[in-house]
Amino acid sequence: MSLDDDLAAWAAAVRLPDAEADVIFRRIIATPVPVAGPAAVPVPGPARAAVPRLAPSWWGDFSAGFAARMIDSTRPVRRAA
């Protein structure tokens, strides 16, 4: 059995049966079609919970602090007198 035969057998197994596809077709065409009005009324979306945000300067602050620590870490430790 070739790979193409195997794939064809798999495709036949997963394909939506015609009877089921026909049921879906009939269900869809039974759905009323929305009529376009003179002015489209915007549909409000679901209310979204407020997400806490970082301060706009956070990246600058973070990278400045990080750079300062890196520079400090490369300096020799001062010996106590």
């Binding site: 794939l7 197994a13 997963v14 939506l16 596809a21």
Partner: protein, 175 residues
């Protein structure tokens, strides 16, 4: 325009490919049929806009809706959990073969499992080619990627499948 006739034409032309797309995206989950229905419900609702487009643009429109729905569906916890569960499922242990029918069923299970384990992009591309019966250019238009990428993904997917079936055939010979 005869809405029902026009819709039937689009439905017959694209339903197999759209279902194949969702089969690939969900790893063969039954929700593929529900997602396909959602896509064609939108086609039905926007039929007036679609009727004026060329066939290629119609396919692109339909698959844009399909891709968006797939993204939304993957965000739903139950869908994602079901998909991950389906993908993580261990291959079923099958009893020793007793007939040709059992051998064929066992081989089909090996193929199905190997396809489920493919990376998603390869699985979707392969599903569109095998179950959706689209060629490389049509798949490229549907997924919004170059045709060369489609051919590359198909080649990788087929190689993985050939390896999986090779292992299976070796085990069969040892039995």
């Amino acid at each position: 325009m005869d809405r029902e006739a026009e819709f039937r034409r689009l439905y017959q032309a694209h339903r197999a490919a759209v279902h194949a797309y969702f089969t690939g995206r969900t790893g063969g989950h039954p929700s593929a049929a529900d997602l396909m229905q959602d896509v064609f419900l939108r086609v039905w609702q926007h039929l007036d806009e679609l009727a004026d487009l060329s066939e290629d643009r119609q396919r692109a429109w339909i698959f844009t809706v399909a891709r968006n729905l797939a993204v939304d569906a993957c965000r739903l916890p139950h869908t994602r959990a079901a998909t991950e569960q389906a993908l993580a499922r261990e291959p079923a242990r099958t009893p020793p073969p007793v007939s040709t029918a059992v051998l064929a069923a066992e081989r089909a299970a090996v193929v199905g499992e190997a396809i489920r384990r493919l990376p998603e992009q390869q699985r979707v591309t392969l599903a569109l080619a095998a179950a959706g019966e689209l060629n490389s250019s049509e798949i490229a238009a549907a997924l919004g990627v170059p045709a060369g990428t489609v051919r590359y993904r198909l080649s990788l997917a087929r190689r993985s499948l050939a390896e999986a079936l090779g292992h299976y055939d070796d085990q069969e010979e040892e039995r």
